[in-house]
Subunit: 328 residues, 2 copies
């Protein structure tokens, strides 16, 4: 008899998270001022407001051994988790690290991974204070980061008339990944080689912008770290703040560095596409009034009445916008 194939019922990530939120219920709003749905959760203990987040990096999904060292995996996953605390305008306290590892992982590989974490922890002044080792069939790192803040900077405060601010570069990480997968064996000029190296470095060794996050606190009306891509993450602010985020392609192109231009051109790809849709740079995207703009922030658009994200192209036309990507 043929085995019967039952189709698997799988909702979208968004629908699943919504349903999970319903099953778990809404915790007491005084104790838990911010629950599921922002960069991190906020929980009150005594007089402190704690900012708390967890993030998993799974082999084959979030990283491939062929494209980065285990030290990079440790460094990158650590920065990714801490970045969520930073985007709330919080100061970090420490992190826990749960590592799942197959029997085939050698001591050397495991310790390289931990060395990458240690390096990131030192740079970010966020010590790893505990963790867990578990056997598994694939390598994964789940980092939990804890911080504190007087008033958390959330996704839901953007107001019509605000400027849209970007701190840090976007698109470099995606260009670095594209370079590694498509071009790494081709010859390139010295200038292109150096540019590609910096893109690859952005991909392998992203930096959580903790100081910039704290600088935004008290100035910005909303903030998020760019992990899914500029447009996708602008969409999260738009949705939670019930506004339209209008991003200027000209502003993005103007502030984009030479590295991204060179590498995109060599790859035959659009630098603007990398900047708008490439994720995992961990730049900070925020909104706020002009008078409150911090020095490090560059204006890339404005907040308008409406919903969603639009990109205004260099001819002043509103370009259609692709949605953000889903992990599954």
């Amino acid at each position: 008899l043929p085995r019967q194939i039952t189709p698997i019922k799988r909702s979208s990530e968004f629908a699943r998270i919504a349903r999970i939120g319903k099953i778990l219920g809404v915790p007491n709003a005084h104790t838990v001022p911010v629950g599921i749905g922002d960069d991190a959760a906020v929980v009150r203990v005594g007089k402190e407001q704690l900012v708390w987040t967890t993030d998993s990096h799974v082999e084959g999904v979030h990283f491939k051994r062929a494209l980065m060292s285990f030290s990079d995996v440790g460094f990158r996953s650590f920065n990714a988790a801490v970045s969520d605390v930073g985007a709330m305008g919080a100061s970090v306290v420490g992190a826990l690290s749960a590592i799942a590892l197959p029997r085939t992982l050698t001591d050397k590989e495991l310790f390289q991974l931990v060395e990458g974490q240690a390096e990131a922890a030192k740079e970010l002044d966020c010590p790893v204070i505990g963790g867990n080792l578990a056997r598994a069939r694939e390598v994964s790192v789940t980092t939990t980061a804890l911080g504190y803040v007087k008033k958390p900077l959330l996704r839901d405060g953007a107001r019509v008339g605000d400027e849209i601010w970007l701190i840090g570069a976007v698109g470099l990480s995606a260009a670095g990944l594209a370079w590694l997968t498509k071009r790494k064996r081709m010859r390139s000029s010295a200038a292109l080689g150096r540019a590609a190296e910096r893109c690859v470095e952005a991909f392998r060794r992203p930096r959580a912008l903790l100081m910039a996050g704290r600088a935004l606190n008290g100035r910005a009306t909303s903030a998020i770290d760019v992990s899914d891509g500029l447009v996708a993450d602008a969409g999260h602010i738009a949705e939670r703040s019930a506004v339209r985020m209008s991003i200027s392609a000209a502003a993005i192109l103007e502030q984009q560095g030479e590295d991204l231009s060179l590498v995109s051109k060599a790859l035959g790809r659009s630098a603007l596409d990398f900047a708008l849709y490439g994720g995992e740079d961990y730049a900070l995207l925020a909104t706020g009034a002009r008078r409150n703009r911090p020095q490090s922030a560059r204006v890339i658009g404005c907040v308008e009445p409406g919903r969603g994200v639009v990109v205004v192209d260099t001819h002043g036309r509103r370009a259609s916008v692709r949605g953000g990507f889903e992990h599954f």
Copy 2:
């Protein structure tokens, strides 16, 4: 040419954790009074002492679908993580849940898992306030729990002359697992059936003893939750406190319930072995002066000068003791 086989260099779990601790370094002792090596880490934020732990449950390693429902997986993994906070004598604040799931996991299975977490969260008054979903090849749940405490109850305070206390049952979970794998298709009397059901329930739905943990705080000199097995976890106290833990087999047998006796006998296994070496009941093991013993605690031995764990058998002889188990 034959492929060369390189032997994989893998140290023991203990050696690996020690090396990881060295790589990560020791954080500032004021900010992080307790780092790697206890049930949970302790970190100071403002005037609060936070107790913080992370724990992973991986399919095929910590659970098998054939032996429990996804709801059980959620309930069990949640209690296991929260138990580490409870063993420090702390009050819980909330938890984060990072779930890794393969494409083949259906909505129904995922939501059952979350329902199990929600049930445990409600029972323990420890809301899930955030989390992460990631794609992976195997199902895993990494739960991070946060609590607070005035003075954490650690593993390193046992003193010679203290009594050894046990709160909660041990061995039931291991007997339940053995029953499920060996006997589930055999006929049994009604009494045995009910006893087996309770052992299976202990295996599938263990309970973190939060109230008992808080009751121990201020009374006990050391405490740990029994996750690896009574002897193995007594070994952790012995090592950190630099004492010998002498456990009385007679005391264990005396306080052991009818359920464990019946099921062990039917399986042809030793009830004492289940009690001494079976893990994952999440009972609390503690030490303290006789005058401070809480009502719920039963005396199962005493703290002596020396090192390690000895079990005194029913004839008063010191039995040799098997080591604890390692996950990999």
